[in-house]
Each structure stands twice: as structure tokens, then as C-alpha cells.
Chain length 409, copies 2
């Protein structure tokens, strides 16, 4: 992660989405989940917003994803987001769309907000329909219990099998002039069948144009959530939403005073949440950073990193604390990307393992010690261009198989 100086921003203690002025949230258990854990929440601001979102590209995208896309075409002023966990409302056909719209209708009445200013989001089991009566009672409760410190509860209510809440808030600027960015996220914990979704909700109190917010969110997602992989599987429900309510009266424009600071802080918030998701990855015992340097294009760098990150052979080797560098080169080689094998250098942290495509004489004891670390850095230098990318992933453990097979012992 990049170095952050105090001048750039300050990370708030116990920060979350409601650490941002004029954002409120609440959560409850309405009965979608069999457990008594919270399964619905509302994120709300009374102010007009400029909002933006990025969605899954999965062809079987869920009803709420399709409905949100539709909503954002008509209005970028999103005041409320209703999120449920337990049921994904994916592969549910017309009934699913109807239920997603019905959720908006209910929330509109409860919150006294126009239907066009509301989004919906779901995560959970695929192929099941939402129990709309329970959803209605949940929204009713949440609407009447919105709190200034409700962000943490919301961070809990969007989880499925994640082990802990993922949340952060940062403050940018000084005492006289400042603004905030807050975020919560859930990862791809899947103890129950078919749960596999990445959700992220970001709040900020700057003023910004829809176009610039779109650009900044896209770029930031590319470097964060689109640069992590647990198992190469993509969900039907993934979404990242940002709401900017303008409360600070600080306007972010390209090349304005705060532009770079806002961008840096947004990148930090999303990268932080992405890293939390990886750390909480299913059965993960180690976090792996794959840094690909000097590729011809950024996309090449990223795709080569993903090839390695998604290699089961590589991931199991890291789990076994065995540096099988042949599995790294084999994964890299099985791509159509631009590089010359005879030029490739590979480092474990800063220890050269491969130089110009050949094994480099390295200190085996040193490598053995490095492989025991909880966080492993693999640095690949292609010496073929000047573009870089980093991918975060995890190892592949017995626990991953256990979680995902529901194996009966």
C-alpha cells in the first residue's frame, strides 16, 4: 500500500459511512437469514446527492443490479440505498425484478423519498425470491431508526459469511476546510451455497459533477476491487456505489485544490476495503501481493498478475510455504500477453529467484523464512515496457475446499 502522509488525510478512529456529515444508517433482522443476524439495512442522506456506481459484468447479473442501472439512468441523486443479505435475488426472472422495484416502492413511502432517488442491493443465495413481507417490515423499522452512528450496524448487516465488518472513514483538509469519505464493504465468504458477492458503499460530503465522479470511481475500482481475486469467480451481484451529498460545500473539479487529495483518499478507502476482503477470503492463511512491473500496457501487467493469482498450483504451493517458481512462470506463460520469457525476473520480496527466465542462485534458508510470512510479495519484472499493476490474492487451503464443499465430516 502507498505511503500516506498526515498532510493527505487522517484515518478516523472507528470510522464508517456515517462518519460523513448528514449520512445516517440503521440495520435490523427482518427474517431473510435463518440466523438472528441483521439482514437488512438502510443508508440515507436527506441532502441531494451526486451518485455513481460500478456493477458486475456477469451475464447472469441479479435483478437489483439491473434495477440500479435503470434507476441511475433517470437520476443521479440517490438519497437512500436498501441492502439485504441472505438472498441474492439473482436468477429470479420477472418476479425478481418486481420484488426489487417493490422494495424501492416500500422504501419510498417509509422514507418519504421519491422512488427515483433510491437504490437496492442484495447478496446471498441465488435462485430464491425475497420474502417481501419481511423485507417491508425491515425497511419500516430501519426508516424509523436511522442513526448518526448506524454505519457500523449497516456494515454488519451486509455481511454473509465474512468473519468481520469492513469499514473505514478518512478526513481530508484542516480544521477550517475539510471533507470526509467513508466506506463499508463485504467480501466473498461462501459457507452457504451460492453466496459470492462483493458489495461496497461509499459516502462523501464533497460536491462533484456526475461525470468526474464516474471517472474517479471507475479508476479507483480498477486499482482496488478489480485488482483482487480469491478464486477467479465473479458474482452476479457485485456493486460499488458512491454518494456525494455536497454538505461540505467543497467542490471537487479537475485541477481544483482538493482534486488530487480527494482522488488519493478515495483510492485509499477502496484499496483498504479491498485488502480487508482479501484478508477475510475463504480459508485464506496468507495474503499474496503480486506486483507486475514494466509491462507493455497496464492491462497486460494486470492480466499477467491475474494469471498467476488464479493458478491453483501457485496458490496451493504458497499455502504449503513452498516457493515453486516454475508454477509462476507456467501460469505467466499460459497467456497471450506480451512479454519475452528470456527477459523475465522474479523476486520473492527483494530476493531474486529468476533472472532473465533462468533460476538465480538464491539463499534457500532466506527464502524458506520469507515463505513463512503471513503476507507474501511476489515481484515480477518483465523488462518489456513501463506499465505496472498489483494484484492481491490469497493462498488455497484445505479450509477453502471445506467451506465451499460443505463437506460432511
Amino acid at each position: 500500500m502507498q505511503n500516506i502522509s498526515e498532510n493527505d488525510f487522517k484515518i478516523l478512529f472507528n470510522g464508517t459511512i456515517t462518519s460523513v456529515p448528514e449520512f445516517y444508517a440503521s440495520a435490523t433482522h427482518c427474517g431473510i437469514k435463518k440466523s438472528n443476524k441483521d439482514d437488512i439495512c438502510v443508508i440515507y442522506t436527506p441532502l441531494n446527492t451526486v451518485s455513481s456506481a460500478v456493477f458486475t459484468t456477469n451475464k447472469f447479473s441479479a435483478a437489483p443490479v439491473e434495477v440500479c442501472k435503470e434507476q441511475l439512468k433517470h437520476s443521479r441523486d440517490i438519497k437512500a440505498i436498501i441492502v439485504n443479505s441472505g438472498i441474492a435475488n439473482a436468477c429470479t426472472g420477472k418476479q425478481g425484478y418486481d420484488n426489487a422495484f417493490k422494495t424501492i416502492e416500500i422504501a419510498s413511502k417509509c422514507l418519504n423519498v421519491s422512488q427515483s432517488n433510491i437504490l437496492v442491493s442484495s447478496t446471498g443465495v441465488i435462485g430464491k425470491n425475497l420474502p417481501m413481507e419481511k423485507v417491508a417490515s425491515g425497511i419500516d423499522f430501519c426508516s424509523n431508526n436511522l442513526k448518526k452512528d448506524g454505519g457500523h450496524a449497516a456494515a454488519g448487516a451486509i455481511l454473509t459469511t465474512d468473519k468481520y465488518e469492513k469499514e473505514i472513514a478518512v478526513k481530508i483538509g484542516d480544521e477550517n476546510s475539510n471533507f470526509f469519505i467513508g466506506g463499508i464493504a463485504k467480501g466473498s465468504g461462501m459457507i452457504e451455497p451460492n453466496m459470492a458477492t462483493m458489495l461496497c458503499f461509499v459516502t462523501t460530503n464533497v460536491a462533484i459533477s456526475p461525470e468526474l465522479l464516474d471517472d474517479l470511481l471507475k479508476e479507483s475500482v480498477m486499482e482496488s476491487f478489480n485488482s483482487i481475486t480469491i478464486d477467479g469467480c465473479q458474482s452476479t451481484n457485485d456493486m460499488v456505489v458512491i454518494q456525494a451529498n455536497g454538505q461540505s460545500r467543497i467542490e471537487i473539479k479537475k485541477n481544483s485544490t482538493y482534486f488530487l487529495k480527494f482522488k488519493k483518499a478515495l483510492d485509499y478507502v477502496l484499496k483498504f476495503l479491498a485488502k480487508q476482503i482479501v484478508k477475510d477470503g475463504e480459508g485464506a492463511t496468507k495474503m499474496i501481493n503480486i506486483n507486475v512491473r514494466n509491462a507493455k500496457t497496464k492491462l497486460d501487467a494486470k492480466n499477467i498478475g491475474l494469471k498467476v493469482a488464479n493458478s491453483n498450483l501457485f496458490k496451493t504451493a504458497i499455502f504449503g510455504e513452498d516457493l515453486n517458481w516454475g508454477r509462476i512462470t507456467a501460469a505467466m506463460g499460459s497467456s497471450d500477453l506480451h512479454f519475452i520469457p528470456e527477459k523475465v525476473d522474479i523476486y520473492l520480496f527483494d530476493v531474486a529467484i529468476v533472472k532473465n527466465g533462468l533460476e538465480f542462485l538464491y539463499d534457500e534458508k532466506l527464502v524458506e523464512d520469507f515463505m513463512k510470512k503471513d503476507e507474501i510479495d511476489i515481484n515480477i519484472d518483465l523488462k518489456y515496457g513501463d506499465c505496472h499493476a498489483s494484484i492481491m490474492t490469497t493462498d488455497l487451503s484445505y479450509e477453502y475446499v471445506k467451506i465451499n464443499s460443505k463437506y460432511r465430516t
Copy 2:
């Protein structure tokens, strides 16, 4: 697997590559492997051949792969193939190329065959150099011990961590006019680090043009070895070689009497060996056939099948005998391929699970029983075209993680 009538061909009892007239083989332990298992073999015919080969597309392709490509450019008359196991001679730079050529030089002298008529093949650890003195003694021994029944020993010598030999021979035609096809293969067993290679050697005694043999081999590989996947990882050393020594004096030409029978038999031999490789896949407890029907193109059908076959979530679910069809749709959806989610039907064997993208009411007890089988058929109907493809794969088990992590218990 397709139905084969006795009219088409006969599968020989204990058939192997040397069941084909005028093919000889021998194997020995020369010391490349630490165990006392055979690690080198020679496959030989004294007759002139027309030979063809298909190689890995991995960018880090091994020295023997590059050398074979070079050899086949100059001559298609391959009389001898030297195969070693234990060391892959991959990522070995100039020394690796020199050693591969040196192997040919040694074999040329021992067998009294021109260097241009010899191929080399290796499988084993990446990044290590071949011990050339041991290789030389091995070739010397094999050359002096070529046997008419040496095929089985060769099938053993090419293995790394496979659990058993993969071999077959078929006879086509009647008593008066007949010819043979034999084959041996190894799969991707990888208890030792970096062993991950698919090798296949096929012999036949037909006469055929290099162009037609190229076409038939490519087509057949596409339907067999290129339609299986254990873990989506592609090796640096993969190769399939066929030698046709013309001994039968039966000439295979497009539209000649035996053309279709030869093609069918070749397809059968390669599919049989491919299936053996899948069955012997690392830690496999179940074999899975994914049949994708009615796609726009054959490539689409194949790639959609591969998307599902390579989904860790899907594979672990099958291991847990849990039919999580949401993982099938999620895997299919995470592709750029052509299909309409709302049209997709999914069957477990012939039980409809999903109809038009929605869950179909199915007999849960029946599905539970089907999921206990050793071989699982998933049939996906896209209703979008008329092209089909089948992918064979395995589940993902604890054993896979154990084998590939060298986990110390």
C-alpha cells in the same frame, strides 16, 4: 464417450504403442529420478514414417518442445523419440537447448538413425538441467534393448506422479486388410513441485500425407486433450506426437475407404487417453462431463464449458456432492461469450434443474442420489445456435490441496 461398434474397430487386450507392427520400445532407470522408477525410454520404428505433433502454447515452452518444432520443420520422418521423466528441461536457457540437441546426438549414434529423424521429450521439475551422463547411459541401454513388447514399460517410464499407466491399441479392418493405432499418455500428477505435463505418443502403421495427418491430429487433440482440464494450468512441456510408419500399406486419403474409420479410431484413442488422464487427476474423487449444447460457435460452447470446469466454487461443490447450480450460472455469466441468460437450461444428467434461466422444480431426493455418483454429467443447453462441445474435468478435493502444497502433516 461415443458408441463404438465392432465394425469400426477392436480394442486390443493389453494394447499399447508396440502393438502396432514395426514399432519397438524400451525403458530403464538411468538416475534422473531419485526413486528407482524408470525415467527414460525410447520409442522406435526402423521404417520411414510420416509424423506430426501438437505442442503446448505456453510462452515458457521447454527446450525439448522448441527442439522438436525445429526438427519437424526439417523432416517429418521421425523414427525415434527419446522421452525422459523427472526433469522437464524447462526454463533452462541455452544449456537446456544444448542438452536437448545433445540427447538427439547420443540417440543418433546409439540407434544408428540420422539426427534429423529423432525427437526428444521431457517431463518433470522446471529449472533443472538434465544430467547428461546418466541420460547417455540410459539411451545406450534402451537402444540395445528395444522390444516388441516394450510399450508398457515406456508407458511407465514417462509417468511422474500418475498413479497408473495410460495405454491403448485398436485394430481397424478385417483379417485380410487391417491397420493399428496405439497410444500411451501421462497426465498432470504433481506431488513433486512443478511437475505438470501432459505427454502423449501415438503410433500407427498406415500410410498418410503429412498435411492430412496434421489436420486429423489437430482435430482429434481439440476434442480430447484440449477438452480436459484439471485446474486450468497449462504446462511448459505438453506434446502429442503421432508416427505413421506405413507398414500396413493401407493409405489414408481424404474420402478413401478407410478415412472415416481411421479418423474415428484416432479420435477414440486420444479421447480414451484424455479420459484416463482426468480420472487420474490430482486428488480427483469424481469425474465431471460438462456438455454445452446449441451454442453459436463451437469455440463458444467450449469456452463456456471451460469457464464452468475451471470454477473452484463449482468444483468444490461437486466434491461436497452439493448441486449449487448458482455456481454454474455465475461461472457461465463471467464470460464474454454469446448466450442469453433467460434462455439457458441446465440438466443434471437428464433432470432439468434450470429452465430459461430460472430454477426448475426438481426432485431433491433424485438429485441427491445422482450427486453421489462417481461420474457426473452436467448438460447445458444455450438454445442459441447449433454448436456443441464437451469438457471433461474433476472435482476439487482436500487431496488436491494436499498434493500440491506438499503440506507437512
